[in-house]
């Protein structure tokens, strides 16, 4: 197997795709948004509970490939407890980091567990898979009512 492929399908990613965390629809969400990837038919719904400017809980439901499910699952973990402003800033950084050329930053250490998704850079057509949940959460936090798409 090539290094790029090994990097893309790390154990953590496979684990999160098989046993996604925070999966399901909670009763007490305050905002939600729906996202889809028209290219492949992947769909996701993000549920958020925001209180006093803090993302208390993030849940998701949907169907998609290992990369999109793992990215969504990891995202729900890192976003929980974050201030809305910080969450939105993290969205921008994450998007930048999965699309930027490798080696051009060292922010991954700061992003901790999200670093496992850096392998996506080698597979440009899969960037949309990794960012679908993030775009959708960003829409939920921005209270956009329309469905977001990766196109």
């Amino acid at each position: 197997m090539s290094d790029g492929l090994r990097e893309l399908y790390q154990e953590v990613i496979l684990d999160h795709s098989r046993r996604p965390r925070n999966f399901g629809e909670p009763k007490d969400c305050t905002r939600c948004a729906h996202g889809d990837n028209p290219l492949c038919g992947d769909e996701i719904t993000i549920y958020v509970k925001v209180e006093k400017g803090v993302v208390e809980r993030v849940y998701f439901e949907g169907r998609g490939c290992a990369i999109s499910i793992a990215s969504a699952s990891l995202m729900t973990e890192v976003m929980t407890g974050m201030k809305v402003d910080n969450a939105r800033a993290l969205f921008s950084r994450f998007h930048h980091l999965v699309t930027r050329e490798a080696g051009s930053d060292n922010d991954w250490q700061e992003l901790e567990k999200l670093a496992v998704l850096s392998g996506v850079r080698e597979f440009p057509v899969r960037v949309k898979c990794a960012t679908l949940a993030w775009h959708t959460l960003n829409a939920a936090l921005g209270e956009q009512s329309q469905t977001v798409t990766t196109e």
């Binding site: 197997m1 090539s2 492949c40 038919g41 992947d42 597979f123």
Partner: protein, 425 residues
């Protein structure tokens, strides 16, 4: 009548001398197959999306631009005459290929999508009224669904859908039930791009015709694999895209019976489609030019003619036998794979294999086999209603062309085993 019987009958009545069909030799005619992907030889299994091009087609396009290019149907100079002759010769090649009666029944368009939109917006708008029904099948590509929805929103037609069974076959009884007193048109695929099902178009057309219903056949997937005789089929319209028949992209064909083309209004207005224009009124040219406004895809049509010349040197039965062998071999090889689910198991099926692996998304399969040099399609194949029938959002699809071999199938199988390893199932 099954497609095999049709093929035998057709070929017997058009006996001619063919070149021997040797897949290993055919491969050498396609320059791109010499290339490598990620250091591995290219194994191209996405021909149903778009076929690769033989050197003869590439050369025809080059020749057009380097040696005999000008606009057509205009100049009195030599070069324009030559370009016009080449363009019209391509039309004649298409006519002979699908055995239409007259070349004036062959309209060049951008592709099958434009052809269906053209029929919906000219024939459909003129002949259909609010409440009239158009019957589709559950096997249709989006390009044979959306144009009818646009027409529905414009004039209030009703779209009805004939279902398929669990094998992905059209059930003729249920198709018959879908035809009602208000049904004016059936628009149906000849072969499903998502599942490979070959539909019983002969029976479908007979049933429709008995009720005075017109029929459009989407032949995109069928023309590269089956001999087509539009007079024998007795369909009203037949459409296909050049790029799936080893020709250039951006060129396609609308066949329409002369009587329909004569009464249909133009699709677009512009040059080429007129006999005279003043600010008060315009007289339209006769078909096919009435439907070819503007400078057409000249090199594309010429390239399509070359593609038809290329495939026509072989006996279609031999091409089809070879592709069926690949399909059988791939189906058998894949059947032993852990967690495999074949999607579309019709008795009459072209060289398309759609499948899923338990718990592994088709996109992940696509990425991992690509890493082995194998190009397959992963997704809904622009046929979401067909996917819905099986409760799926996507499948992996391997589709074969005349240039594929059993080695290509072996490479796919090895890529799938690699996928299972990565996911450790």
């Amino acid at each position: 009548m099954s497609s095999k019987v049709v093929m035998d009958t057709l070929q017997a009545s058009h006996a001619r001398q063919y070149c021997k069909f040797v897949p290993e030799k055919v491969r050498k005619d396609f320059p791109i197959l010499k290339s490598t992907i990620k250091g591995k030889p290219l194994v191209f299994l996405d021909t149903a999306a778009s076929a690769q091009k033989p050197a003869r087609v590439i050369e025809a396009v080059r020749h057009c631009y380097e040696e005999e290019y000008s606009n057509i149907h205009r100049g009195v100079y030599y070069l324009s005459q030559r370009a016009t002759e080449n363009f019209e010769y391509a039309r004649e090649r298409v006519r002979a290929f699908i055995r239409a009666k007259k070349s004036s029944e062959i309209v060049f368009v951008r592709g099958a999508t434009e052809a269906i939109n053209l029929v919906a917006q000219t024939y459909g708008r003129e002949q259909l009224e609010r409440g009239d029904e158009v019957v589709l099948s559950q096997l249709e590509h989006h390009s044979n669904i959306v144009p009818w929805q646009l027409l529905r929103d414009q004039i209030g037609i009703v779209i009805k859908v004939a279902p398929i069974n669990a094998a992905g076959e059209l059930e003729l009884d249920e198709f018959s039930d879908a035809l009602g007193p208000r049904t004016k048109l059936v628009s149906i695929t000849h072969m499903s791009n998502a599942l490979g099902t070959i539909t019983p178009v002969t029976e479908v057309i007979a049933m429709a015709r008995a009720r005075g219903i017109k029929v459009l056949v989407d032949g995109c997937q069928a023309v590269p694999h089956l001999p087509v005789d539009v007079q024998d089929l007795d369909c009203d319209f037949y459409v296909f895209s050049g790029h799936k028949l080893y020709g250039p992209s951006g060129i396609g064909v609308l066949y329409g019976k002369q009587e329909h083309l004569n009464m249909m209004p133009p699709y677009q207005g512009g040059g080429e489609m007129i006999t005279s224009v003043s600010f008060d009124q315009t007289k339209f040219a006769a078909p096919p030019h009435k439907f070819e406004a503007g400078t057409p895809n000249i090199s594309g049509a010429i390239g399509l003619g070359a593609a038809i010349d290329y495939v026509s040197q072989f006996d279609f039965r031999r091409i089809n036998d070879h592709e069926q062998d690949l399909l059988d071999y791939a189906t058998k090889s894949l059947s032993d794979t852990r967690g495999i689910r074949l999607v579309g198991t019709a008795a009459d099926k072209g060289a398309i294999l759609s499948f899923c692996l338990d718990d592994i998304h088709p996109h992940d399969v696509g990425t991992i086999v690509d890493n082995e040099g194998v190009s397959v399609r992963a997704g809904h194949h622009c046929a979401q209603p067909t996917m819905d029938r099986f409760g799926l959002s996507a499948t992996v699809r391997a589709s074969f062309g005349m240039y594929n071999t059993r080695d290509d199938v072996d490479a796919l199988i090895s890529g799938i085993h690699r996928t299972l390893e990565v996911f450790d199932t």
